[in-house]
Amino acid sequence: MSFDHFDAVIGLEIHAQLLTESKIFCRDSTHFGAGDNENICPVCTGMPGSLPVLNRQAVEFSIKTGLALNCDIRRQSVFARKQYFYPDLPKGYQISQYDRPLCENGHVDFLVDGQMRRVSIVRAHMEEDAGKSTHHGDYSLINLNRAGIPLLEIVSGPDLRSAREAAEYARAVRNILRYLGVCDGNLEEGSLRCDVNVSVRPKGQKELGTKVEIKNINSFRFIEKAIEYEIHRQIDCVLNREAIVQETRLYDADKNRTFTMRTKEDAHDYRYFPDPDLLPLTVEEAWIERMRATLPELPLAMATRFVRDFQLPEYDAFLLTQERELADYFERTNRACGNPKAASNWVMTEVLRNLNETGKTILEVPVPAEHLGRMIRMIDTGVISGKIAKTVFGEMWTSGQEPDAIVKDKGLVQITDVASLERVIDQTLAENAANLEAYRSGKDKLFGFFVGQVMKATKGQASPEVVNELLKKKMQR
């Protein structure tokens, strides 16, 4: 048997920090990067007598996400206490949803290399984040700023079959969260965290292999690499007749390997029970419908529409819809020029390249979409040439000016006037009589030379189409 004789079974648990102003059960700020323990209070430090009060916004963000993940929203979900001792868990329990989560039975569709895939969402439940411990040899330090930040834990079914698929699924979920504006999806800062469950089994085998959990992977690339490593490690185990231990492992990006964090033997008995400080979360139908009405168009729906309505290639549509703001930018550009393919080309090449080079995000783009659209229109109506347009775009990027003003101020309007172009062509032909002779005797390649000379003489403003036409006519004689 070899690697090809095995299937991998992969499921993901994605923890998304919700973008509320205050924490899930208390009034502290969720602001990232505050000073040590600046965002704490008696509630999230678990001081005696403090009580949790649920944040409405956190619930609404969770409902919206559940709807976007095609989940059923439970009319009555229950917060439970998950009990274990750890210094960054102030109350000795984490408030989480257990047997009655808010969202259940959903699915996510996404593209992997042009193929549509569907992954089931078993559940998405609300919970509070823990604090952070940092280790310093003979002591550790605890910062509770993060304790109590609302999390939505999105649990997929064991439906994924490859590392690549898993990473694409994670990206799809992130894009949805960002479209909804409920999570900023930053893996490096930990606002999105991913735990992966991996097992392998010989092809054709029904029962699942022993499951291994890999915790806290902080980039999409590492999700892919960690899973790849883990699949290989497990297959090696099976081939070498070693037992796979049910355990939790961590991924070391530097060494590109996973290693044991804890084994099943020290598994916890979490002693879950319903939190009597919080009443069941009752969600009326009307509330769900109100939330449904606020849902934006989601990335996959948008990409599908781009393909259908604008005849964009699937690749373009997929790329443009990675981020809602980019898709919006494209749509506004398109609205201003009425040429989707050109709009898509400009956004995907010039806009993205310039953003990349200047380290800016689409939100900081200095060229308003309407300006870009108008510039594309100027190309399409022959006011400027495509070549000049690159200059105009560069100018718009640095000065922020409108394209019309730039074209006018710099005199960049395309010359389409036949009489004036004929004058330039005549002069060019006269000055290059030898080359003209050579062309006429069969050196076709020299045609380009003449185009270049005319463009040069007009500082690139001549309309290439008109120049071509006129040159062909005059050089044949």
Binding site: R27, V53, P87, H135, Y139, S140, N143, L279
Partner: protein, 93 residues
């Protein structure tokens, strides 16, 4: 009958130390107490929704607003050990 071994397991979960004498005493006491509590096992509770709290409030939510009442110093004042504005504990790994 609750064994000493169970008592030790429970004590571990609850993060309590028990001496042999205590384990012995707790085993006897908890056995007696839970033997008595067992009486509810014979009651028919089929289909009864558990009652978690007597509060009949439908739903109480708070608006998403930041408010500060204590300073970080107030909240660290009672810490057995701290370093700057951080709580200090024995090594956790």
């Amino acid at each position: 009958m609750i064994s000493q071994e169970t008592i030790r397991h429970i004590a571990k979960l609850a993060r309590l130390e028990v001496t042999d004498a205590e384990a012995n005493e707790f085993a006897a006491q908890l056995s007696a107490v839970f033997d008595h509590f067992q009486e509810i096992a014979q009651l028919d509770t089929a289909g009864v929704e558990p009652m978690i709290t007597p509060s009949e409030i439908a739903l109480y939510l708070r608006s998403d607003q930041v408010e500060r009442q204590e300073t970080v110093e107030d909240l660290l004042e009672n810490a057995p050990e701290k370093s700057g504005h951080l709580f200090k504990v024995p090594p956790v790994v």
